[in-house]
Symmetry: C2
Subunit: 340 residues, 2 copies
């Protein structure tokens, strides 16, 4: 049994306490400066206020000032920050972690570099803090279903397979199934992209709801298929292998039916302008449009450099146009047809 | 403008009259011996009784005895039969088609051969009737949404690209988008398999409905991702290229949300035995379990011959066990994890 310290008491970070406690580990959940109320509430009631569920019995809750205490004797750190918290984790947390303590991150997303390349968070962390093992989780997993013990499959990626297998041994349960992969770029790219493309698939949800109030599936499926086609091309551009696309596909599926990304995609599909759609969702963190515009920017750079073809990414470029340039929704169906 | 004769007035065959008439072609819809009432009804009301929609103005309706008349001057035949009608089409229709008249088939499915290989219907037809062009349609397209003019993307496959481009030019519309591919095995395998795997994904629908009456998505997404993983392996075994997997993925998506396959998968997921589930659906053609057991049989043969590994197809083998051997649903989640 191990001591596992989770930093970030958002939905996914908090949910990771479930498999960890299921396996009997000592779990310490540390809130960021944004999570003060969550930790307070958890201490008083044992529940997570946003997930609206009991946290597992035996988990201990810490405010950020108690980080040192929460790290004493820890064998694994789980980073529960969202992509908006990556810089904070880099600047404020990494320097305070004991040497050699490995990190498993739930954060999904990538950074676009000036040369058009995309960088994964494990790569970013490793550059800042060489010598520490950084691994990351990808795959279709909503936090509240995981807390309810629903059957869930994920993949842990990282450079070192023995570290990955050890993390898997700590956290795998009869309902939380863990693959491991050394293809960090493949997995991280596949699961980051799904945020942008889930938003795209949900344009069709909004379009059909607007039309007759019903759900239609031919158009959703057309966008789903085109998403997978473009995600595979992005994976190749990012230097990933093709096999981890299955986690991106599963993650795309779960995100299309998830709350916030579906909501904004549907609003856009109904013709609501992006800024207005965002304001209707105020108060919730929305990673999908950030990753969409990052990826759009990266792909536009690659196109300008002659390293990618615009014709390979009509859906992504349209999403980016909607988000970054205020374009109206006008899905380029005819561009999804193989050119020949 | 061309004369297009559709043989088989089931849902998809009849729906093909919509893009054909949209483009102004002369459309002749011929019922099989099973479609007598449909043709009768269409003549009286202009509507399709099962699709519950008007057929396009100007389409002409023929009973099977009038086949010769319906074929006079025809430039393209569309076969609208289901996979259960393939033998009938081979034996009764092919010998009566004018020499050289090309055939475009809506039928999805494959046949399992004694050596464990899978054969596509275009290949089967070509062997029986060499010298005629046989093409087939794959991709996510439900007939009723297509009739309503929903945005739909499909792929036509066949040996001869110029024939495919000609068929595409006849039938493509602003709402019905057609790619073409010479990878017959890749496309046909991808879209045939989706029937079996849609049934598999819907096990999770039934399991979660049984549990608390609600839909959960982690488990559906896990099965969806595993389905795509196995479909890619089957595609490779069938000698297809990997790119047409996107049509299989789109088709899987649309089928998961379609009527009959979702219904039987959900029933099985709720613990209803296969025979009982079938009888609850009596009266409807159900291709999903036929293709599932065919593919299961083919894969078991390939495993016995040392050409495939059981560990690559845990989901398909479980579905086949449920259907062919009366096994209880017990999804082998732990087998979806990469072995290493």
């Amino acid at each position: 049994l191990a001591i596992i310290t989770i930093i970030g008491a958002g939905d996914m970070g908090s949910a990771m306490s479930v498999p960890a406690r299921y396996n009997g580990h000592e779990v310490r959940l540390v809130g960021t400066h944004l999570d003060r109320d969550i930790i307070e509430h958890a201490r008083e009631t044992g529940a997570h206020p946003r997930l609206n569920r009991q946290l597992p019995v035996g988990a201990a809750f810490f405010q950020l000032e108690q980080l040192e205490e929460a790290l004493t004797g820890a064998e694994l750190v789980i980073s529960g920050v969202s992509s908006f918290g990556v810089d904070w984790f880099l600047d404020e947390i990494l320097p305070r972690l004991p040497e050699g303590l490995p990190v498993l991150s739930v954060t999904k997303g990538m950074l676009d570099m000036p040369d058009g390349s995309l960088k994964t968070f494990p790569e970013l962390y490793e550059e800042a803090n060489p010598g520490r093992a950084f691994c990351a989780i990808g795959g279709p997993c909503t936090s509240y279903e995981m807390m309810d013990g629903d059957q869930t499959t994920v993949c842990y990626c990282g450079r070192d397979m023995s570290v990955l297998r050890w993390m898997k041994s700590l956290l795998e349960t009869p309902f939380y199934h863990v693959s491991v992969s050394a293809d960090v770029r493949g997995l991280e790219c596949a699961v980051a992209m799904k945020n942008a493309y889930a938003l795209a698939v949900c344009l069709a949800v909004g379009l059909s709801e607007q039309r007759d109030g019903k759900l239609h599936y031919n158009s959703q499926a057309a966008l789903f298929g085109q998403s997978v086609r473009e995600m595979r091309k992005l994976l190749a551009l990012a230097g990933g292998q093709d096999d981890n696309i299955v986690y991106g596909v599963g993650d795309l599926y779960v995100t299309v039916f998830g709350g916030r990304t579906r909501k904004i995609g549907s609003l856009l599909g109904k013709g609501v302008a992006f800024e207005e759609a965002l304001s209707q969702l105020s108060g919730v963190t929305l990673e999908s449009h950030v990753i969409a515009s990052r990826t759009g920017r990266a792909v536009r750079r690659l196109i300008a450099l002659g390293k990618a073809e615009a014709g390979d990414f009509p859906l992504l470029l349209h999403i980016d146009d909607i988000i970054s340039n205020g374009a109206q929704v006008d899905i380029p169906w005819e561009k999804f047809v193989d050119r020949m």
